[in-house]
C-alpha cells in the first residue's frame, strides 16, 4: 500500500499521539480505514491492532467501509431538526431502501447524518459529495434524488 507508506513516512518518530492524525490522513487519502491499513499502522507504531480499532471506533469521524459514489449527508443540527429534517431523512430512506449510516448494495449512495453545518438560516440542508442543497422539502428531495438516479442510468 504505497499511499499509506507515504503517509507514515511523514511521521518519522514513533509517538502514540500521532495515531489520530495518521488515521485521519489515511481516511482523507483512501476514503476509509481498511483492515490492511489498520494492521500496517499498528506495525509501524507498535500498537496492537485491537487498540487502534478501539480508538477508531470511538470517534465518529472514522469509516470502515468503502465510500459510496454519492455520499448523501444530511445535517442533523438542532436547527435542522426543529425544521423537520426527519421527513427528508424518511423520504431518502424510502427512496433508496437504506437506513441512516448504510450504503446501497450497488455502492451508489450512502446516507449519513452530520452535526450542524453552519447554515442554520437555510435549513434543512443536505449535501451530496460536497454539493449543498438548502431549504429542502420532501418534494425537492424527490426531484433531487431522481436527477441523480437518472444521471446514473445514463
Amino acid at each position: 500500500m504505497p499511499e499509506i507508506d507515504q503517509i507514515l513516512e511523514k511521521y518519522p518518530f514513533v509517538q502514540p499521539e500521532n495515531l489520530i492524525p495518521i488515521l485521519q490522513e489515511i481516511q482523507d487519502e483512501t476514503g476509509y480505514l481498511s483492515q490492511e491499513a489498520i494492521v500496517r499502522v499498528g506495525r509501524y507504531l507498535n500498537v496492537p491492532t485491537s487498540k487502534i480499532y478501539g480508538l477508531a471506533t470511538f470517534y465518529n469521524q472514522f469509516r470502515f467501509e468503502e465510500k459510496a459514489k454519492f455520499q448523501i449527508k444530511i445535517c442533523n443540527g438542532t436547527s435542522c431538526h426543529v425544521k423537520s429534517n426527519i421527513l427528508i431523512i424518511k423520504e431518502i430512506e424510502k427512496k433508496l431502501g437504506i437506513k441512516l449510516g448504510e450504503v446501497t448494495r450497488d455502492k451508489m449512495f450512502s446516507l449519513e447524518e452530520t452535526s450542524c453545518m453552519g447554515a442554520c438560516g437555510y435549513g434543512p440542508v443536505i449535501s451530496i459529495n460536497d454539493k449543498f442543497f438548502t431549504q429542502m422539502t420532501v418534494v425537492k428531495t424527490i426531484h433531487l434524488l431522481d436527477s441523480y438516479l437518472y444521471k446514473e442510468e445514463k
Binding site: P21, L55, S115, C116
Partner: protein, 648 residues
C-alpha cells in the same frame, strides 16, 4: 503587491510597537487609511466566504462576479470577508465605490448579482437587495439606505469580540493589525510579566465561556505556579454541539484574533507550545487558522524570541475526530495524547497535571478572544460591562424558528426577550413562540414566562439550564418539547463515552422512556401501559442519579434537558402520557387516523393492510377505524390511494 507588502510590514510593526503618541506620523496614518480602505480609487467588492455562505452558493457567486468584471473590462478589487452575523442573509456582498460609503447587499445569488453590479457601479441602488451601509465620516452617504449600526439586529448588540467579523478580510494580517490587532499582545510582551497578566485577568473577573463559568485568572495562576519545564495551552475550538456554529464562523471571520488571544494566554501561563483542537469538518476554519499562524510567524509574532522578549511560542492546529465528550477538558487531553477521548477523574486538575503530565490550561475560543479585549480596554472598562457577577459580553448562535438566525454578541444581563424578539427578529412566519433551548445537549428549555430572565451565568443556572455551548434554538408552536428532548437524549446516549455507568446506562434509559412516552402502548396485556404512566417519575429519579453520580460534565448535565422540560413543560408530558396526544403533531406515532367518508371508495386495501385489524367495512362502502384498536402505525395512511385517511 509583494514589494508593497514588505514595506507595510515594517511600518505596521512599528505602528503596533510604538506608544500611542507617536502613532500620528503622517506616513503611518496614510498607510493605515489605505489598508482600512478609507480612500479607494477603484471599486472594492467584498464577498462573504464562510461555511454558511458557501452552502448558499458563494463560490459560484464569486465566479460570476469575476466573469462580469472580465466581460465588461472593469477594474475592481475582490476580497473575501467573514460572516456579518445573519446567516439567512448569506451570501452577503459589499460594494465600496471611491468616495462613497460601503454598501452591503443581502441574499445575493448568481441571478441578481448582475442587476446589483449594473446598478451600483452606475450610482443607482437596486432596492430589493440592499441591506445597509457602513458609516464612515470620510465617505459620502447614500440616500435612503439604513446604516448598519442602526439596524435592529446590530443596534441591540454589543459587539466587542465580533467587531471585525464580516468587516475585515480574514486572510490578511495587515487588516487585522490596522484595526488595532496584536497591539495588546506586544504591549504585554513589553510591559508585563506573566504573573501580572494573570493578575489583570483575575481582576477582570473573566469567567470561562465553556459552560461552567470557572474564573479564568484563577486557572491560569495555578498553571503558572506549577513548576515544570514545559507547559501547554490548549484552545478548545471543537464545538461538537449539534446546534452551535458560532465558533466556526468566528474563526472563519477573524482568525487572527484567536491567534492573539492564544499568544497572550500562553505567555501568561508560561507555555511555549499551544494547541488548537478543532473539529475536523471545519475545513475552512482550519485553513484560515493555519494561514493566520503562518502569517503571524512570518511577521515574527510567533516563533523564537518574539520581539526580543526572550519568549518563544509555537501554535499547532490539531484536528479532532468528532466526539462530543472531547469538549470536556480531560477527555480533550486524552484525545490529544492519541487515546480514546475518555475523561479522567479530577483532581489532579489539568492546570497541575494535564497533557503529557505537564501543567495545561484548556480554554475555549470565546474565553481566549476576550483576553486581548481586556488588555486593550483595561480592567475597569471591562468590569463596567455586564452584571455584578458576570462581566463582559456573551456570544450566542441563535437558530431555529426565528426571522434572523445567526451569531450575536450581547452584554451579560441582556434579557432573553431582547435577544429573540429585537435582535433575532422574532418568530418566523408569524407563528407563536413556544420555547427556547439554551446550551445544546447540556442545557435546557425555557418557556414564555422566562423571557425576562437576564442572560448571565447565575440567572441561567437558577432556571436549571446552563449556558453550555451557547447554542440558542428557538421553538415555535409547531415543535414538540418531548421530541426536542428526545433528540438531545438520543445525541447524548450516542456520545456518552461509556466510562461511568450512570451516564452510559442512564442516558439510554431516559431515551427509552421518552420513546415510550411518544408512542402508543402496543397492547394492554403486558406492563407497557403501566411503564408509560410511571415514565415521568422514573425520569425524575434517573435524572437526579445522573446528576449526582456521573464522572464528568457530560453526564452531570445530561439530565438538564429532561429536568427543565419536566419543570416548565410538565403539561406537555402529561398530554403525551395520559391523553396520547401531541399537540404540535410532531410525534408520529401518537397521530390518530380517521377515514373521510366521502373520499373513501371502499377498496378494502387499508383494511387488508392494517396490522391490528382496526379498520372495518364492507367492499365498495366507506370504511371506519376503531380508535381503541388502532396502534397509530400509519400504514393505512401510506397505502390509501384516494387520500381518504386523515391524520390528526
Amino acid at each position: 503587491m509583494a514589494n508593497e507588502y514588505h514595506n507595510h510590514k515594517e511600518i505596521l510593526l512599528n505602528y503596533i510597537q510604538s506608544p500611542l503618541s507617536e502613532k500620528t506620523g503622517n506616513k503611518i496614518s496614510e498607510i493605515i487609511a489605505f489598508i482600512k480602505r478609507e480612500k479607494v480609487n477603484q471599486p472594492i467588492i467584498g464577498i462573504s466566504l464562510n461555511s454558511s455562505s458557501i452552502i448558499a452558493g458563494a463560490y459560484q457567486l464569486k465566479d460570476r462576479i469575476l466573469e462580469y468584471l472580465q466581460e465588461r473590462d472593469l477594474n475592481a478589487e475582490i476580497i473575501p470577508l467573514g460572516a456579518l452575523g445573519v446567516t439567512s442573509y448569506e451570501p452577503v456582498v459589499t460594494i465600496q465605490l471611491p468616495g462613497k460609503t460601503k454598501l452591503i447587499y443581502k441574499n445575493v445569488n448568481d441571478e441578481n448579482i448582475i442587476a446589483i453590479l449594473d446598478g451600483t457601479l452606475n450610482n443607482f441602488i437596486p432596492e430589493d437587495h440592499v441591506f445597509a451601509q457602513v458609516k464612515n465620516k470620510l465617505h459620502e452617504v447614500w440616500e435612503q439606505v439604513p446604516f448598519l449600526h442602526e439596524i435592529s439586529f446590530f443596534q441591540n448588540q454589543q459587539r466587542l469580540l465580533l467587531s471585525n467579523c464580516g468587516i475585515i478580510n480574514p486572510e490578511s494580517i495587515e487588516e487585522y493589525i490596522s484595526n488595532g490587532g496584536y497591539a495588546s499582545y506586544l504591549k504585554i510582551l513589553r510591559e508585563n510579566t506573566p504573573a501580572e497578566v494573570c493578575q489583570i485577568i483575575e481582576q477582570s473577573n473573566l469567567k470561562g465561556r465553556g459552560g461552567d463559568g470557572y474564573p479564568t485568572g484563577k486557572k491560569w495562576k495555578v498553571a503558572l505556579e506549577s513548576p515544570s519545564d514545559q507547559k501547554y495551552l490548549i484552545c478548545n475550538a471543537g464545538e461538537s454541539d449539534p446546534g452551535a456554529f458560532m465558533e466556526r464562523l468566528l474563526i472563519e471571520s477573524d482568525p487572527h484574533k484567536i491567534v492573539e488571544g492564544i499568544a497572550i494566554s500562553a505567555y501568561a501561563i508560561g507555555a511555549q507550545k499551544a494547541f488548537i483542537y478543532i473539529e475536523s469538518e471545519y475545513n475552512l476554519a482550519i485553513e484560515r487558522l493555519q494561514m493566520a499562524i503562518q502569517q503571524a510567524k512570518a511577521w515574527g509574532l510567533l516563533g523564537h524570541n518574539i520581539f526580543e522578549s526572550g519568549y518563544n511560542l509555537d501554535i499547532v492546529v490539531k484536528r479532532g475526530a468528532g466526539a462530543y465528550v472531547c469538549g470536556e477538558e480531560t477527555a480533550l487531553i486524552s484525545s490529544l495524547e492519541g487515546k480514546r477521548g475518555k475523561p479522567r477523574s479530577k483532581p489532579p486538575y489539568p492546570a497541575t497535571r494535564g497533557l503529557f503530565g505537564k501543567p495545561t490550561v484548556v480554554n475555549n475560543v470565546e474565553t481566549l478572544i476576550n483576553v486581548p479585549v481586556i488588555i486593550e480596554k483595561g480592567v475597569e472598562w471591562y468590569n463596567s460591562v455586564g452584571t455584578a457577577e458576570s462581566k463582559g459580553t456573551k456570544l450566542f448562535s441563535v437558530s431555529g424558528k426565528v426571522e434572523f438566525p445567526g451569531i450575536i454578541e450581547v452584554a451579560m444581563g441582556t434579557k432573553l426577550r431582547d435577544i429573540i424578539f429585537r435582535i433575532a427578529g422574532g418568530i418566523a412566519k408569524g407563528k407563536k413562540f413556544k420555547a427556547v433551548h439554551i446550551g445544546g445537549p447540556s442545557g435546557g428549555c425555557l418557556g414564555e414566562n422566562h423571557l425576562d430572565t437576564p442572560i448571565d451565568f447565575n440567572s441561567i443556572m437558577l432556571t436549571g439550564t446552563s449556558l453550555g455551548s451557547a447554542g440558542m434554538v428557538i421553538l415555535d408552536e409547531d415543535n414538540c418539547i418531548i421530541d426536542t428532548v428526545k433528540y438531545f437524549m438520543d445525541f447524548l446516549q450516542k456520545e456518552s463515552c461509556g466510562v461511568c455507568i450512570p451516564c452510559r446506562e442512564g442516558t439510554r434509559r431516559m431515551h427509552e422512556i421518552l420513546e415510550n412516552i411518544s408512542k402508543r402502548p402496543k397492547d394492554d396485556q403486558s406492563h407497557t401501559t403501566l411503564q408509560r404512566f410511571k415514565g415521568v417519575m422514573q425520569l425524575e429519579n434517573l435524572a437526579e442519579v445522573l446528576k449526582d453520580t456521573s464522572m464528568c460534565g457530560l453526564g452531570r448535565k445530561a439530565a438538564n434537558p429532561v429536568l427543565t422540560s419536566l419543570k416548565w413543560f410538565r403539561s406537555e408530558y402529561e398530554d403525551h402520557i395520559f391523553d396520547r396526544r401531541c399537540e404540535a403533531g410532531v410525534c408520529q406515532e401518537l397521530r390518530t387516523f380517521e377515514i373521510d367518508v366521502d373520499a373513501c371508495t371502499g377498496c378494502t386495501l387499508c383494511a387488508r393492510k392494517c396490522p391490528s385489524g382496526a379498520i372495518y367495512g364492507t367492499p365498495k362502502n366507506a370504511h371506519f377505524i376503531v380508535q381503541d384498536k388502532c396502534i397509530g402505525c400509519g400504514i393505512c395512511y401510506n397505502t390509501c390511494k384516494f387520500s381518504a385517511i386523515i391524520s390528526k
